[in-house]
């Protein structure tokens, strides 16, 4: 089985340095792109690969990049920004890539920047990812020394600098436009669209923001071609995906598997099934901001469209597994606490609605709920949905709540105090 993204990663060992990375075939994609392909050819290959964004939204990367103004009359300043602000609960895939093979990240950034004609790239890194920061910093320095960064890279005439920016630590910075504001030193409030970042992003210049895992696919697509990439997947979409599992499973971990691997296979074969004494009740397929899947969904492929059709989202592909001995209401209370706290405070439903759901869930958890509480929670699920709030934070936040009310309603009812 091909595992291009994690081929160089040896858990427990230091990551490959530049020489080791080169020895394993690293920076060959960069040479190929710079010497044998013009940026449009790279972009065409990317489009043909049908790579979809691995940050959670699944937007086709080639299409996203296609909106960047290119050619001679395009603005001189453009930016490629790596979204390494991995704060989705239960998710640690980008960390794995950055800690395990930092040069792969750097090579991806250079190839990506070449493709869109950006001369500056930023890596926007989650505050807590100190080890990633150290390893990426070293990799950048090594790449600079080797002439992979800086002026006239490998004699191609292409210039690039990469800056590593450590976030002050807000979940909303993972939203690409809030990230841009944070990078500019402003409050991390999502921006209005239009303008889309490709037209007016960082400092008002054309920019693309991509997730670490998404970008890491790029060198492999350049080297092996779009068809190879598409063939990696088991379903509609191509490539591999870093899937993870946490919760009461026998083997909580992370695996690079073909895109479209069925949920059951991940849960039972790779995660080893439920830990002894625990029974499966449901799972969040892609981090905290996705909806519950239950037994009936386990044979679905873990791919964007099938999971969406089941009322959830693929998200980051990091399963959070709910067992029969963990309080559903307590889990939701914990999640909504997180989402309430991470609201940027811009729009009313999110800012003031999420804390209310948290308080109700705490009351239900403590057995002090009231009958009308479920109604109020349902009102929030409805009115914090897509289109009603400024960005997707609140819709993501209520997705687990809405599906939990659908699948585990009795658990909530038990929290209603007698006489209410």
């Amino acid at each position: 089985m091909d595992t291009p993204l994690t081929a160089n990663i040896r858990p427990g060992e230091p990551p490959p340095d530049r020489r080791a990375y080169e020895a394993a075939g690293g920076y060959r994609a960069l040479r190929k792109a710079l010497h044998d392909m013009d940026p449009e050819q790279v972009l065409d290959e990317l489009k043909a690969s049908r790579l979809r964004g691995r940050g959670g939204a699944g937007f086709p990367t080639g299409m996203k990049w296609n909106f960047i103004p290119r050619g001679d009359d395009a603005p001189a300043d453009k930016y490629l920004i790596v979204n390494a602000d991995e704060m989705e609960p239960g998710t640690f895939k980008d960390r794995h890539l950055m800690e395990g093979d930092p040069h792969q990240v750097i090579e991806s950034v250079i190839v990506g920047a070449y493709t869109i004609g950006a001369r500056h790239a930023y890596i926007f890194l989650r505050d807590e990812y100190r080890l990633c920061g150290a390893r990426l910093g070293r990799a950048i320095a090594e790449a600079e020394d080797a002439g992979y960064l800086g002026r006239d890279i490998l004699g191609s005439g292409f210039d690039l600098t990469i800056r590593l920016h450590t976030s002050a630590g807000r979940y909303i910075c993972g939203e690409e436009t809030a990230l841009l504001n944070a990078l500019e030193g402003k409050r991390p409030i999502p921006r209005e669209k239009p303008p889309f970042p490709q037209a007016s992003g960082l400092w008002g210049r054309p920019s693309v923001v991509n997730n670490v895992e998404t970008l890491c696919n790029l060198p492999h697509i350049v080297l092996n071609g779009a068809q190879w990439f598409r063939d990696l997947g088991r379903g509609e979409d191509g490539g591999t995906k870093l899937y993870g599992a946490s919760g009461r499973v026998k083997n909580p971990a992370l695996w690079e598997l073909p895109m479209g691997t069925p949920v059951r296979e991940i849960l039972e074969e790779h995660a080893g099934g439920m830990a002894d004494g625990y029974r499966f009740r449901g799972l969040l397929p892609g981090g905290a901001s996705t909806g519950f899947l239950v037994e009936e969904h386990l044979d679905l492929p873990m791919d964007f469209d099938p999971i969406q059709k089941a009322g959830s989202r693929l998200g980051t592909g990091a399963l959070i597994v709910l067992d029969d001995r963990t309080s559903v209401v307590g889990m939701l209370r914990n999640l909504e606490h997180f989402f309430a706290q991470e609201s940027c405070g811009w729009c009313t439903p999110c800012r003031d609605g999420l804390p209310w759901t948290e308080r109700i869930l705490a009351a239900l958890e403590a057995g002090r709920g009231r009958a009308e509480d479920l109604e109020v929670l349902e009102m929030h699920c409805r009115f914090l949905g897509m289109g009603k709030t400024f960005c997707a934070h609140a819709p993501g936040a209520v997705m687990p709540l809405q599906t939990a009310l659908q699948y585990f309603r009795e658990d909530f009812r038990r929290g209603i105090a007698d006489g209410h």
Binding site: R170, T177, R187, R191, E192, K193, P194, P195, A199, S200, W203, G204, A340, Q341, E342, S343, C344, G345, W346, C347, T348, P349, R351, D352, G353, L354, P355, W356, R359, A363, R370, E372, V376, M379, F383, G387, K388, T389, F390
Partner: protein
């Protein structure tokens, strides 16, 4: 026009607007918080949700925020839809989670947009049963109170303060439901537009501290349409009153002038009306050298009448008195004996400006024109300090580049968040050449402090670069390059504007500015000129025929056997310096001061007559663009005070003179003035006459909900006193009368509409959102430019000879708080006034061996100022700055040359 369908009814709307504006403009009620007509849309509060349908077959529809959706032709939406109503009620329910519900003790109660919107959405019963969040409040200085617990996080305050007004010391802090709007630490809000927070805030977070000190609910406040007296722009205001005391000033929307905002000088300067230096009763010196003592108004008028009969009187008019008062004085003393109470130097500048406005092709710019300008050149004027509201308009003018870029990117202008993100660094050109740095420099393409002569040279060079026929000042090469860059920016603009004025005291600067605007006109550009004048009625007084300036008047006193001098609404000491005034008045038998303030000059006068202020009398001012505007009193004068014109009328009547200006009604005096002064012929049209009636009624100054009217005087009488007679205005002094949108804008005393108790009820009085009022613009423009006139270009004067060794240019430095006489008397404003100083560049101070705060003596002509040093790095090299209007600077003519005599 586009047609939209709202709940089955068709409306013709402007497709350049969003659905919220379209709905409000169509007279529909739709609640909102974060949207503001001047700040536009950002989509934060989600309050204006409506249901939008794809087409007529779509029955499900989709919730959208009306403020974020363009009013495209064929849009189908529903405000009444059940889900939309439920969502809007939920938004208020969310906002109310943390709100303290302290309406009974909140300054905003009764005129609170949050109250109105809550009622509008129908949310009533609280379901949230958990604790509320609380915040710590800050002391924000003398103008603005702070009560953060009431905050609903609409972000309007920071958007206004930072993005619209350029302030930096108010911000949003924290996140999620603890987001906090305040300063980094307690302290005075620095922006001179902070007072607008009280109106911009939809609830009681930011409130008017001067009102809170002596609080009255909106429904108990009497109100009148008025005009600000604290600079030359003529912003429209609503003074609010209770128990014979002004309690606050609110913005009065005028689409051509102040729009939605005032400056803090205009909002808080009213404190002088009841300030501790107010002249409260007529005072007379009965014996030579004796102390003045109070006398009755009747007796005072009698003396004045007697003295007038003698005939050997001169009158000194005032640029801060109404046209009517000035005209009454002129009528009383005779046209040949009426002088403008303005120092000769300043009088010449104002005269030159009025000639430029009347004789040249460039029309005067209103503030709306200034905001619409897409390239601006400011010559010589420190606009934020001499005409703050104009600075706010110029700050918006630079956004045209961003709007243009955004429109090309399909982001409409009303989509403010999108515009700022599309074009975060795009500013239309604003070039500033003033004696020092200004608070507009942060959005200026260039701001270079320079001496007035250098500013003039730059202006002449710009004019020459635009039109080679304009005289060439033959500047050095670098100045020519700068001038050519400025000329090109102005030539590329659709609506270029040149701003100048009396601020730096230079005729050459005013002439250079005129050349620039005229050169643009000659090259076919729609250029406008905006002039800043010294006082609220400088233009009006300047348009009156007079025998001369204050200097001419004082000179005549020394030679002409004048027996009586009547100084109207002016402190001659402040204008000419006490020594000069005393010398000139030495031989005069009777000196009469008619003014609001009991200044030293009034204290020395033989007869001091308290003049009613803007709050107590009606009259007409002409603003800097030549617009005549009527102000109407909100309460009766203090016992003993009378309008300036009424003192003179009473004295004339006692003397048996029944000419028109001596009649009892303001309209007669206005008409007499219009008849006597051809440039003022149309001032009668500035407002409806006193006998105007709507459905047989005058317009009520008091709201119909006024309470306690029989109890207000109960400590003195159990009978309700008859309302005072009001022959001068089309308003009624009580709640009896008409109130509603049919009132002429010039006679509309306050804003109130069913369901809309806050000042945001304005939308019910506008033809469209942000557009003209239902009755059209208030006031009347008196000055027409001569579009066909070949530009009568001014010639640059040769450069001044190099100064004698040790001579330094002394430049006037203006202060928004302190330079204007009346506002500086308001207790709240006084806290913001700087102490007098002499400004030096740090390197000059070092060379002179003085530090910040050290004392310095500066000789200017025969005057020596002894003041502490303030270091100011942005002065032109070698120059010294002296604050205008602060104590110790009376009678100075600036710019001047001075010499440091110590240390």
């Amino acid at each position: 026009m586009a047609e939209i369908v709202v709940d089955g009814k068709r409306y013709a709307v402007d497709p350049a607007r969003n659905l919220l504006e379209a709905c409000l403009g169509a007279g529909l009620d739709l609640p909102y918080f974060c949207w503001h007509p001047a700040l536009r849309s950002v989509g934060a509060c989600r309050q204006c949700a409506v249901k939008q349908y794809k087409d007529e077959t779509d029955t499900r529809g989709k919730l959208v925020m009306a403020c974020m959706v363009p009013a495209r032709d064929g849009t189908i939406l529903s405000i009444a839809d059940d889900e939309a109503r439920a969502f809007r009620a939920s938004v208020v329910e969310w906002l109310m989670i943390g709100h303290p519900h302290d309406c009974p003790v909140c300054e905003e109660g009764g005129e609170c947009h949050l109250q109105d919107m809550t009622v509008m959405t129908g949310h009533a019963y609280r379901r949230h049963r958990f604790p509320k969040r609380t915040h710590r409040n800050q002391d924000l200085g003398p103008f603005i109170g702070h009560e953060m617990n009431r905050c609903i996080a609409c972000y309007r305050c920071v958007r206004f303060y930072r993005e619209y007004a350029g302030g930096t010391d108010l911000d949003a802090f924290g996140a999620h439901h603890y987001v906090y709007f305040g300063r980094r630490e307690d302290g005075v809000l620095e922006s001179e537009f902070s007072g607008n927070l009280a109106e911009v805030c939809p609830t009681g977070v930011f409130t008017d501290k001067t009102l809170a000190r002596s609080y009255t609910r909106k429904w108990d406040l009497t109100s009148a349409p008025s005009v600000c007296v604290h600079c030359s722009l003529g912003c429209n205001t609503f003074p609010n009153e209770r128990y014979g005391e002004v309690r606050r000033i609110l913005n009065r929307y005028h689409e051509q002038i102040n729009g939605y905002f005032l400056c803090d000088r205009g909002r808080f300067g009213y404190g002088f009306v009841k300030g501790d230096r107010r002249l409260r009763a007529p005072r007379m010196r009965r014996t030579v050298g004796g102390a003045p003592s109070p006398i009755s108004p009747g007796e005072a008028a009698g003396y004045l009448s007697e003295w007038l009969k003698d005939g050997r009187a001169i009158g000194i008019g005032s640029p801060r008195a109404s046209l009517e008062s000035n005209h009454a004085l002129k009528a009383a003393v005779g046209a040949e004996r009426f002088y403008r109470g303005v120092p000769a130097h300043q009088d010449a500048l104002v005269g030159a400006i009025l000639d430029i406005q009347r004789n040249g092709p460039a029309p005067a710019a209103s503030l709306a024109d200034a905001e619409a300008a897409d390239a601006v050149l400011v010559l010589g004027e420190d606009v934020p300090n001499t005409a703050p509201r104009l600075a706010l308009a110029l700050r918006q003018s630079v956004r045209h580049a961003a709007w243009r870029k955004a429109e090309a990117a399909m982001v409409p202008r009303w989509q403010d968040k999108g515009v700022r993100e599309t074009a975060p660094h795009d500013y239309s050109p604003l070039y500033i050449a003033a004696p020092a740095a200004t608070r507009l420099d942060d959005v200026a393409a260039e701001s270079r402090p320079a001496l007035p002569d250098a500013i003039a040279r730059l202006g002449f060079a710009v004019a020459h670069a635009i039109d080679p026929e304009a005289p060439d000042p033959e500047p050095p090469a670098d100045l020519r390059r700068r001038a050519e860059a400025i000329a090109e920016a102005l030539m590329q603009a659709d609506r270029p504007l040149v701003v100048s004025g009396t601020g730096c005291g230079s005729l050459a600067v005013i002439q250079a500015a005129a050349n620039v605007a005229w050169a643009l006109c000659r090259r076919g550009r729609a250029a406008r000129l905006c002039h800043v004048l010294p006082a609220c009625n400088s233009a009006g007084l300047g348009l009156m025929q007079a025998a001369g300036s204050l200097d001419d008047a004082l000179a005549r006193l020394r030679s002409d056997g004048v027996r009586l001098v009547i100084a109207l609404e002016g402190d001659l000491d402040r204008l000419a310096g006490r020594a000069a005034v005393e010398a000139a008045l030495a031989g005069v038998a009777h000196v009469v001061a008619i003014d609001h303030l009991h200044h030293d000059f009034a204290a020395r006068a033989d007869l001091a007559l308290p003049a009613a202020t803007f709050a107590e009398a009606a009259g007409t001012f002409v603003n800097n663009e030549g617009r005549a505007q009527r102000f109407f009193h909100v309460h009766e004068p203090l016992a003993g005070a009378r309008a300036g014109w009424r003192w003179l009328r009473d004295a004339m009547a006692l003397a048996g003179r029944n000419e028109p200006a001596g009649r009892a009604r303001l309209d007669d005096v206005t008409a007499a003035c219009a008849a006597a002064e051809p440039p003022l012929a149309r001032i009668g049209e500035a407002a409806p006459p006193a006998d105007a009636r709507i459905a047989g009624m005058a317009v009520a100054r008091q709201p119909h909900r006024m309470s306690g009217r029989t109890a207000m005087h109960a400590d003195r009488t159990v009978f309700e006193p008859a309302p005072p007679a009001d022959p001068d205005t089309p308003l009624s002094p009580s709640m009896e009368g008409y109130y509603g949108p049919r009132a002429a804008p010039a006679a509309l005393p306050f804003l109130w509409a069913p369901g809309w108790n806050s000042e945001q009820s304005l939308n019910k009085f506008q033809q469209e959102i942000g557009g003209p009022l239902l009755g059209g613009p208030a006031g009347v423009r008196l000055i027409d430019p001569q579009p066909e006139a070949g530009p009568p270009y001014f010639r640059p004067r040769p450069a001044a000879p190099a100064p004698a060794d040790g001579d330094r240019p002394v430049l006037p430095l203006h202060h928004v708080f302190g330079s204007e006489e009346l506002s500086a008397e308001a207790p709240a404003v006084r806290e913001r006034c700087p102490a007098p100083y002499v400004a030096l560049r740090p390197e000059d101070a070092e060379r002179l061996g003085v530090g910040d705060g050290g004392r310095l003596a500066l000789a200017i002509g025969d005057r020596t100022l002894e003041l502490p040093v303030a270091l100011k790095a942005d002065l032109p090299p070698g120059a010294v700055g002296v604050p205008v209007g602060l104590p110790g600077t009376e009678g100075l003519v600036l710019p001047a040359r001075g010499r440091v005599v110590t240390p």
